[in-house]
Structures are given as structure tokens and as C-alpha cells.
Symmetry: C2
Subunit: 386 residues, 2 copies
């Protein structure tokens, strides 16, 4: 039997365990050790992010954001329905009501034009999710937020090394635009540490409190910088900081960001180019769309099947060839947990992407030969279909 082509395979640069050993030898492997500092510096200096704080997951970064903007029971938050559960959970844990928004017709990202109709006096924040690393229309979102005095928290879980170009031509890194932003380093992401995340604090007014909340509600960080003469319990908080073992792993990845990104983009472009030229492809599938204002960070390659039954047949077809393609989110407004709490609006595009989107095998170590097998298998599917 031929070897399975998995959907994802964590890529290692080789230095991960070397750095973990260094961390171990430094005598400190709890949070905020030498590699956490190196990672923070990478994000703040090389990526020019504002205050950057490693967390144990993107979920935790979103939870910090929910605490920082002061979500109280009954507050409303606008979130796409087609997203990971954590986008919603982080706010639900603080008592928020979620107002789910549909995807755009042409792509899974949120339909920015229907945000405004959901805003009322209870609305506290908008959480754009940059699906597949492709920017939401941040001109539109930031403008709405400003006019209604709302916070914007970017769920940039998949959006490392991706950009948005404003109407005025200025280019900004995703995660640097909203008041706060959350990234993921889960093993399925471009840059990984198994589990892991990052909170970016763009609105300076949250900077001090973000440190405190991350350190279990203590002002320990300020103490270590010599800003206070003893530290104690000053706020609510949790243990959001990862072990320096995780940071050591992550740092080895960050050092190789460029080569990882080059590999991913090459794979992305080969998929896209092949499907562009594949006869009959467009009558069954559509390809990802990258709007003019967005860049492509090579996070994911997906197909949108014309209907659910085609997707089912495709997944079976690929599985028979030992290729593991997978669907993605299930609309959250239709979930067992939230269905009865949802306000009843139909969100047809979110449902469409729940039913019809397929993610293809995608990882830096995917060989040309393997990728050809995937492309050929899809080519055969298209031929058999017609």
C-alpha cells in the first residue's frame, strides 16, 4: 500500500531541540525565560509589532483580549460563524453574547458589509478572523469600529507574515491593525510550537494590564524591571505564559520564517497554477480568492466544491488514493451549543463553506512527487465527473 499523504505534517528546522537544551541549561524553563525574550524581541523588532506576549495558545491570547477590553455578562461581540470555536469561547467565558456574522459569498472571510446592521448599544467588539491568512477588509472594519466606539480584536491565528494594504496605499502587517490581535502556533500553522500563541497589544493603554493578567494578576513583570519594589496581587488573571521550552522551539521556527514561507508559497502556487489550467475544474470547484488589499501567506490551500455531495465524493476519492484532505469549520451559529442562543438569522455562506470547503495536504515537507499525486488525483476526479 502506498504511503499516506497526510493533511499536515509538522516541519522542523533542526534547531528546536538544541534550543530546548540551551533553555534547560540556562536553569530556567518556566515562563518568560531567555527564549521567550528572544521571541518577544523577534516580534517587536523584526516584525515591528507593538507589545508582544507569548501565550500557551491563540485561545488564551483571545481570552486575555476579552479580559482586557472588559467584557461583562450581556455585552455583545460580532464574530464570524465560520471560525474556530475559540474565537467565540474566549468571549463566552466572560459572559458575552455572540452575534454571528456570515461569510462573504466569494470566500470564507466575514462579510464586512453586514457588520453595521448587528451593532447596538450592547456591542463591545468586532473580531475579524483572517481566514487562511487572507486579510479581512480592515479599512471598512476599523472605520465602523471608530464610528461606533468598538474594539477590534484580530483573530490572526492563521495570519502570520500576511499583510493588508489600506486604501491610502499604506501596507500593514495583519495583527498590527486592531486594538489587540491573537496568533496561533498550533502544529497546523506556518510557524509552530505544538500548542502556542501570541497576544499583540497595539493599543498602548492595555500594555501594562496585559502583562499583569498574563502573570496571574500580579505585577511581577514590572517588579523584575525594577519599576515596583515588591510584587503582589493587583488584578484578576491567569497563567497565560508558556514554558520556555515552548518558546525555545518557537524561536528555532521564527529564525527560519523566510525559508518556511518560501516553501509554503511554492506549494500554494503550484496547486493554484495546476488547477487554473485543469480542464473542467471550474465547473465543479472554485479556488481561493485573494483580494487586492490582501497578501497570501501560504497558510492553506482549499477548494470550494459546488455542493456537499461533491465534497463527500472527493474526500472518498482522495482517501482511496491515500490522500488525506479535510473539511474545516462547522458554522458556529448552527452548533449544538449555540443554535438555541443564536438570533435566528440565516447565514447561508457560512453554511456553504461548512459543507463545501476542502483543505488539501499542505506542509513544507510535501514533496513535488506527493503534490503531483494530489493534483493528479483531483484531475482524475474532474475527468471522471464529466
Amino acid at each position: 500500500m502506498e504511503k499516506l499523504i497526510p493533511f499536515n505534517k509538522p516541519h522542523f528546522t533542526g534547531n528546536e531541540t538544541v534550543y530546548i537544551k540551551n533553555a534547560v541549561e540556562s536553569g530556567k524553563i518556566s515562563g518568560d525565560g531567555i527564549y521567550t525574550k528572544k521571541c518577544h524581541e523577534f516580534f517587536e523588532s523584526l516584525m515591528e509589532f507593538n507589545k508582544s506576549l507569548l501565550t500557551t495558545s491563540c485561545t488564551d491570547a483571545l481570552e486575555m483580549a476579552a479580559i482586557l477590553i472588559g467584557i461583562e455578562p450581556g455585552d455583545e461581540v460580532i464574530i464570524p460563524s465560520y471560525t474556530f470555536v475559540s474565537t467565540a469561547n474566549a468571549f463566552i467565558l466572560r459572559g458575552a453574547i455572540i452575534r454571528f456574522i456570515d461569510s462573504r459569498e466569494d470566500q470564507p472571510g466575514m462579510d464586512e458589509r453586514s457588520i453595521e446592521s448587528l451593532i447596538n448599544e450592547k456591542t463591545k467588539a468586532i473580531v475579524p478572523v483572517h481566514y487562511a491568512g487572507v486579510a479581512c477588509d480592515m479599512d471598512l472594519i476599523m472605520d465602523i469600529a471608530e464610528r461606533h466606539d468598538l474594539y477590534v480584536i484580530e483573530d490572526a491565528a492563521q495570519a502570520i507574515d500576511s499583510f493588508f494594504t489600506y486604501r491610502n496605499g499604506k501596507k500593514a502587517r495583519l495583527g498590527s491593525i486592531g486594538h489587540l490581535a491573537a496568533f496561533s502556533f498550533h502544529e497546523t500553522k506556518n510557524i509552530i510550537s505544538g500548542e502556542g500563541g501570541l497576544l499583540v497589544v497595539n493599543d498602548q493603554k492595555f500594555a501594562t494590564r496585559a502583562e499583569i493578567i498574563r502573570e496571574k494578576g500580579t505585577n511581577r513583570s514590572a517588579f523584575f524591571r525594577g519599576e515596583v519594589d515588591k510584587y503582589g496581587w493587583v488584578d484578576k488573571g491567569s497563567s497565560f505564559l508558556p514554558s520556555d521550552i515552548i518558546a525555545a522551539f518557537l524561536y528555532a521556527q521564527l529564525e527560519n520564517l523566510e525559508s518556511i514561507q518560501n516553501k509554503r508559497l511554492e506549494i500554494w502556487n503550484r496547486y493554484d497554477h495546476s488547477f487554473h489550467h485543469m480542464k473542467g475544474f471550474e465547473s465543479i470547484f472554485s479556488k481561493p480568492i485573494i483580494p487586492n488589499y490582501a497578501t497570501n501567506n501560504g497558510h492553506m490551500y482549499y477548494l470550494i466544491c459546488r455542493c456537499k455531495s461533491i465534497r463527500k465524493r472527493l474526500l472518498t476519492h482522495l482517501k482511496r488514493r491515500n490522500i488525506l484532505a479535510v473539511f474545516h469549520y462547522l458554522s458556529l451559529h448552527n452548533s449544538k451549543f449555540y443554535r438555541a442562543k443564536h438570533d435566528g438569522r440565516e447565514l447561508p455562506n457560512a453554511d456553504k463553506f461548512s459543507d463545501c470547503l476542502v483543505r488539501l495536504p499542505f506542509y513544507p515537507d510535501l514533496t513535488r512527487e506527493q503534490q503531483n499525486k494530489v493534483i493528479d488525483a483531483i484531475g482524475d476526479f474532474v475527468n471522471e465527473f464529466h
Copy 2:
């Protein structure tokens, strides 16, 4: 200048990075990989715990416990004042009011006999903290809980491999007694993974929901066991599971539990024996007390100074000799965050331990020579004092 004797130094067994490499090569380093399973098995089979779930920290395990027992705003929880902030924060994040309880006069553990006076119709749980790994009187606490229909959540952060003997002679592992229990693998603990924790679910009724809450509110765990045919969003939750990198590290430690514990107990006994015979010691200090119903897991060796000024002098004296001894918690009822919310009761013993307790250097790699230096320095302090 002589080399510093630190308060803590993470101990490594040698296999940590080997196992991390294995995890990496397994192709899965996110949560619940092969080493997480090995750790769970260790806790459930060898330690005979009920359902055991690794978490990113003891804080997170406590937060899971607070969600599981259904803490709602206004519920009251009884917690010692002399504890780490996380014991309280986990419940405060869910809206609980904390009723702080004093320490015992003779040791930092909570004064079990004053629990009952704090119980009212709002009380939901008691959280005994097994300070320094020394059991609280669980006969008393479980009896009170049963009579008042309260949950008991053991904060067993420091209590790995420690036991309680019931009045009837039965011996039970700490963490196996309350409805739920939380352990820590922070680098200062006996068994470490930098940051890390464990939730033990003793009350079977919480077992399924614990898995769901840990997996961001999805029934993914049941799905992977084939119990449901697809998984989705069924509850609130967060990302409480650690990367398998952390579990790999932890497993290397667990395999060496016995040798680590032997080393720690040897160090503990040497301190205790030396101070027992030290002339003049008892007029300035007292030593830790291990009640008959408790065992000693060699987590920590502390001295209680007769007053705060003696502690200050001792710390300075030791620092001059390049020995880093440290104090521990500051009473939470007196903290900047909770002072105004506290009900005003004086908790003099908690304050005494805040002011007078000193933890001595304590880690498996502390050499005899180093330990002698610490003991000699304290001997000299005692002599100079008289």
C-alpha cells in the same frame, strides 16, 4: 566570588530532549499526542488516579475545576489566604466571592476547624491547599463538605507523591480525595515541565465534561474514541491541553519519580536533622511540622522566623554568603486586589507566615557541600544572634 547557591534549579533526568525528539518524529506535537497518553497512563495506572488530564498549568486545572462545578457570579468559595494567587483567581474569573481562611497556628496549611463558620447558602466549594505537600486534615474537610453539600477541590500544586491517612487507617494519595484536584509541574515543583499542570477528576460525573471543556468545548475526545460520529461545539471551554513537547518532557521526569523523590527526601532530612541538633535554633526559628495523618514528599524546606525583622536579617545574612533563600506568599486577604473585597476578619496566622517564613535552597542537584554551606550559614546566624 563564590558561586551562588540558588533557591531552585530545575533537575533534568537526561531523557527529556530524547523524548521531545521522539514526539517531533511522531509527526504530532500538538496536545494529546503519544506522550500525553503516556503521562495520563502513568497517573491513572501507576498512581491509580481516576481520570487524569494534563493541562498547561495548575492554574488552568483549577480554572477547569471552577467551570466544572458550575461557579456562577456570587457563589462563595473557601480558600486559604496563605496561598498562590491562582487558587483564588480561578474562581474569581467565574465571578466567585472568596472567603479567605486563616492558616493553622503551627503551620501554613489552612485552619480546618474554622471552615464551618464561613459556610452559608452561597458557599459552593472548599479548596484545601496542601502547603509544602503536607496534607490538610481531609477527614475533617470531607466531612464538612458532605454535611453541607459542598465540592472539595484539592489544590495539590505541591503535593505530588504525598499521602493522607484517614482516621480509619486507610491511606490515600493527595489529589485522589476531593471531587477534583489540581497539580503543578512548574519548574519549582518536584516533577517539572517548565510550566504544566494536571487535573484529576475523582467524581466520575465530571469526567466527560472535563474532556469537553479542555478541548475548547468540543466533543473531540469522544469522537477520536469513536463514541460519536462527528464532533462539534457542545459547551463552553478553552484550550487547556499542553503541547506534546511538554508532555514528553514531563514523562521523562515521571519515569524518574522515585530517584527524584529519594534525593529530595535526603536533602529534607539533612536540613531537619541538622536544625534539630543546632544549639539555640529553637529560640529563633521553628521547623516544619508534619502531622501524623500526613506524609512528607520532600517538596520544600522552610523555617519560620520568630518575627519579620529576624527574617529580614537572615535573608541578608544568607545573601552575603551567596545563598538565595526566599520568602513565599503574601496573605491574599491583605492584597491590593482583594483587601477592600475581604470581609474584614483578621487572619493573623496567614500574616505571620507571610512575614516570617523562609524557604531554603532545595533541589535534587543541591550537593552535600552546598547544603553544608547553607546549614553552616544558618548556624553562624544563630550564634551571632545570641
